[in-house]
Structure formats: C-alpha cells, structure tokens
Symmetry: C2
Subunit: 384 residues, 2 copies
Amino acid sequence: MYNFSYINPTKLIFGAGQIEKLKTELPADAKILIVYGGGSIKHNGVYQQIINALQGFEYLEFSGIEPNPHYETCMEAVEIIRREQINFLLAAGGGSVIDAAKFMAAAALFKGDDPWQIVEQGLSIESALPLCTVLTLPATGSEMNGNSVITRDADRNKLGWGSLKVYPVFSILDPETTYTLPPKQIGNGVVDTFVHTTEQYLTFATDAKLQDGFAETILRTLIAEGPKALQTPRDYNVRANLMFASTMALNGLIGTGVPQDWATHGIGHELTARYGLDHGQTLAIVLPGALTVLREQKGEKIAQCGRNVFGINEQNIDTQIDKTISAIENFFEEMGISTHLSQYGITEEAADAVSARLAERGWLLGEKQNITPQMVKTILLLRK
Amino acid sequence: MYNFSYINPTKLIFGAGQIEKLKTELPADAKILIVYGGGSIKHNGVYQQIINALQGFEYLEFSGIEPNPHYETCMEAVEIIRREQINFLLAAGGGSVIDAAKFMAAAALFKGDDPWQIVEQGLSIESALPLCTVLTLPATGSEMNGNSVITRDADRNKLGWGSLKVYPVFSILDPETTYTLPPKQIGNGVVDTFVHTTEQYLTFATDAKLQDGFAETILRTLIAEGPKALQTPRDYNVRANLMFASTMALNGLIGTGVPQDWATHGIGHELTARYGLDHGQTLAIVLPGALTVLREQKGEKIAQCGRNVFGINEQNIDTQIDKTISAIENFFEEMGISTHLSQYGITEEAADAVSARLAERGWLLGEKQNITPQMVKTILLLRK
C-alpha cells in the first residue's frame, strides 16, 4: 500500500424525503443561488420540494446548465452571484450541475484575471463560496468530492480540476428522485460509476485488500442492481444501492494508497469534446480497448476482477483476461450503452484525431504514465 | 436501506514515516499536551519521532493513561490543561489513550458541575479542544470517530459516550509503529475490529449491498492478515491492511443505513469492569454466545457471513449457521484469544452478576432491543 492522506468533509444526508433537511442544514443568513439544468427537476417534484424547504430563505435561481457544463454559462452565473451577493450555492441535479456550481463557487471569489486559469492551469484557489447539492442523477460522485470538469465552448476544451475548497458542505441523496430518469441516463450513470471504480482498481496489484474489496463490492453492486433499475424503475432498494455506490466510487476512499489510471476518462473527454457523445458512452467505448491494449500490465488485476466480480474462473490466464474484458463490455451493452464508435456513426478518423489531441496536450496517461498517443490510437481502432 | 446522515471530518495520514507530518499539520500556535500510556512509545521509537517533529512547538506531556482509561486519571490531565492553557491535544497510543484524550478535550471546556455528566448522562457538549492522534495499536477505530469509553474507577462504571466535536482533526497511522506489539495486543485488536464489524453487519438483512460488502471485506482482511501478523511481525503490507481495516470498521461508514447491535460490547464492558478482562477478550467470549442465542433473528446474515467471509456453503441453514459461529470462535482462538470464561478463571457466577448489572441499567440491547437480562445470562452460561 502506498502512503496516502485522506479527508472528506462532506456530510451525506441520505434517504427518502430528505430534501426537507435543507431547512435545517443551511445557515439562517444564507443568500442562495439554486443552480440547475434543463428543468427536469420541475417535472419530477424535486424543484417543488426544494422551494418548500427554502421558505424563509432568500434565494435566486439560475437554470440552463448544459451537460458537459460550459465555462461561458458558469460565468453568467458568476456575474449574478457577485451582483446579488449570493453567499451559498445549491446545486440541484447530476454531475454537470454540481461541477458547474463548484466552478462558480471558486470563480466568484477568484482574484486573478480570468477564472478559466483555475481549470486550465490548475491554479490552487484560496477560497470558494460554500455549496450544497441535491443529487438527482447518481453517476459522477461529484456530490462527495472536490472534482469538477468544465468545457470551454469557444475552443471545445474539456478539462478537469479540483480543490478541497469546493467539497460540498452537505449533499442530499434521495433515491426516489431517480425514479423518473430516462433509461439512457441510468445506463450512462452506471457505466460512469463502473469505470470510475475500475480506474482506481484495474491497475497493478499492491496487496491493498480493503481498497480492492471495496472496489469489487461497488462493481458487484452495479452488476446486480443496474439491470434491475432498467426493469423495475420504482424499486427503492435498487435505487438506494446504486446511488450510494456512485458516491462511494469517487469520494476518494477506494483510491487511497493504490495506483490510479484515469486514461479512459482522459480519452473519453476528448471524444465528448469532439463528437458530443455522452460521457458514459465514451467510457463504454474506451475501457474495453484500454484493458486489451494494457492486458499485460493490468493482467493480474483483470483476472482478479474476473474471479471476484464476475465469478469467472479460468485456469488459463489469457482466457481469464479475455472473458473478463468481454464480461465488462457485455455489461455495458446490457445497460443499453453501445460500446463501439461505429454504433454512434463515428469513423476510424477518431483514432487519429483523439491521439493527435492528446499528443498536443503532452499528457502522460495510465498508472505507469506509459500510454503513448500511438497506444491511444490502437485503443480506439480496436473500438471502431 | 434506512435513511442516514454521515459525516467524518477526520483527516487520515497513512504510511511509513508519516509521524513527521505533525510539524506541518499542527497549527503554529499550538500549545500541545502529549497524552500517552505506560511508556511503550518510548521503547518503539514513536516517542522520539514525535519529539523530533515537535521541535519549535510548545508542549507538555501527560503519561500513565491506563487500559480502560479512568475518569480520575483524565481529570488530573484536565487540571494541567486548564492551568497551562493547552490548546491542542496529541494522543499517542491505542484506543484507551485516544478515548482519554477525547474526554479531556471535552472536559477541559465543560461548563457544568462535573464532566462525568458528559459520560453518564450523555450530555451534548458545546465545544472541545482540538485533538490529533498518532495511532500505535489498531483496534478501536477511535482515531477516526467521535466515540470514547471511560471508566470511573470509584464505582467501576465503564460507559461509552460520543460527540462530533471530538473527532480527531487528523490521525497519523504508521503501520511500522505496530511491529513491536506483543501478540496478545495484536490478537485483542483483531478481535475488537472483527466484533465492531459484526455488530454493524450480523443483524437482520436490509439489502444494503455496499455496507454488507464493505463489512465482509473487512472481515476477510482480518482473517487473511491477522494470523500473518502473529507469524511474521514485520510484514509491512500485513500491518497496513490490518491498520486500515480497524479504522474502516468503526469510522461510521459500514454502519450507515443499517441496523446495529452493540450487545456484545455492552455485555463485554461489564465483564471488563467486574473482572478486569481485556476488552478484546470479553468480545471473544460474548460474540459466539450472542449469535447462538439470537440465531433465529440473525440467521440470514450469519449464513451470508458464512458464505461470503468463510466460504462455508451448507445446504442446511442450521448447519450453515453452526459452522459459521464455530468458524468465528476458531478464528478468535487462532488469534490467541480464549473464548470461554473458565479459560480466564471466571465461574458461572458471571452470568448472574452481569445480567443483574444490565437489568439495573435498564438498557435495551440488540438491533431489535429485545435482549433481556435473562438472555444475557443464557449467553454467558453458554460461554462458561
């Protein structure tokens, strides 16, 4: 196990009917900006629950956060935050809305020239407005971490950044809010959670028994509950297990003291920036290819995943690895998320374009930072 | 899954050589009281590492915290804390030392008549001094929670209390500090961790897949690594896995949203208070008896534990339960901790005495609060 430090100050408030806790968790002098997306919270009752809980508080609203939230949109909100002296942000939605609110929280107090520097240069921020979340789409784990991914629309630049200062003060997770999610969003969310987990788990073996066992628990939970969420949308326990799984997959815990490999996310972000694919779709495409190309380096852990997650027990290590990678791909398809570029109408051209973009960035990907642009090309050609 | 709220603000700093981080984690104006036990930290190098890290800080020392720390001893320290205007406590040791420091932190700022009220009446405290820990004995999880157990020596009253205010600000966990622990302390620590876990897991089934899987991971880790710690004391990964397991077993996570049953601890505390047994010893005695008496209520989860933790797969449910309880008992014995009262020279009299004491307290034990004093007697008679 590697040395590590771990802290996660976010308070989780979990369960049916918990949105009303806003009223006791928010400070009395909060002047709130409610940040949300395209308005689905107005159809599923979440908006009304929030408004009911906020009686007696001062608040404004900012809607229209897009998937893969734009820097440009966030900056409109920042202007309102500054002008109206907002002192607490409430993000109601999924990862895009929460990521956007994190950027607003940092940008509003940023003293430099252009808050985009926080994202592009990874500038360490000194302070941020406090924020809380009402999660409606389990997927990114953003409700219990300090990570955020923002896209600058002007040049289609999609980048991640993070800070301890933008961990939500508290996050309310009511599984019932996910009952009305469309199947595609459930599939994307399960794939995203699955891939977050593998990126902290399918590396090389370090005898970290807790982290491995926790990661395997999350993966088994997704495999057991994901298809049920598609089949029986109003099963509370299914939704509760999926929601808690997505939070635990990326709140830092399973990644403590172990190697990590965020190559699939890195490559996936470029596919989204260039072709507009959903985040989960890009991950479903890339992961099986990345595991195939890196099968030697990751072989021991892929085999372990096969045994402990999928119950695959082949004597021959190559067969074990092949079957495990196939099982992962099949699971993504079972969740309704296609795993090949051609299924989205994207040609081989993507392999060259994405590897060129990554070469330009000069990033070293993978747990051994040994994934070259040429390997990225190979990965994507496998997924045509 | 039940509704829950969860927060854990403690920062973990984990790994070899991390004690030196005290120097960067402590505030510059800290006036520190180092709290420790019988001096083992002076023999294993931990004391010297702490002193080296504290160069430039103002500090005093308070040693002599006993196992099952006494209220009376803590109050001596509180007098020093108040007189010397100590503003940060550093607990160096295991659960007893950390629990004592938590009580000191709360008692030093207590405004009522007698700080014992915090323990006996469970008074909610308004504030506490900040504290940090250097853990040397993985067992109680006290390094990452707000719990504390204090014994008033005058009347042999051993009671637990807790507050969010006494979570350590940070805890340093260096697995190398555990290399020199005597086998009995390793055994006690592993048993304590095992029983903490079962008390949040062996209740009734609630389809909480994450919590169950995390608990099973901790139990499997203890079973795999515990005996190795006895056989090869200087295996870093073994010690790292055990240390992280004991923290994760009682930092609140696996107990979120599920029923809990702290009967074994409750009964065990009375055995310690009356007969002076080690905490781990009392748990090793009580748990197999408690599971036997509550085998109907807990049957489904005991059987699941057998399958997922011990690899026991019997068709007949009764055989499955019997074999699982035996496997738990055998594991405790393998860790060198005897599981019957007679092995400690204690007679059947204990069954009457402890059940009478619990009747007097009027506590309702068990996840269904249905364990009567008569059942406690039956449990202990099974363990004579």
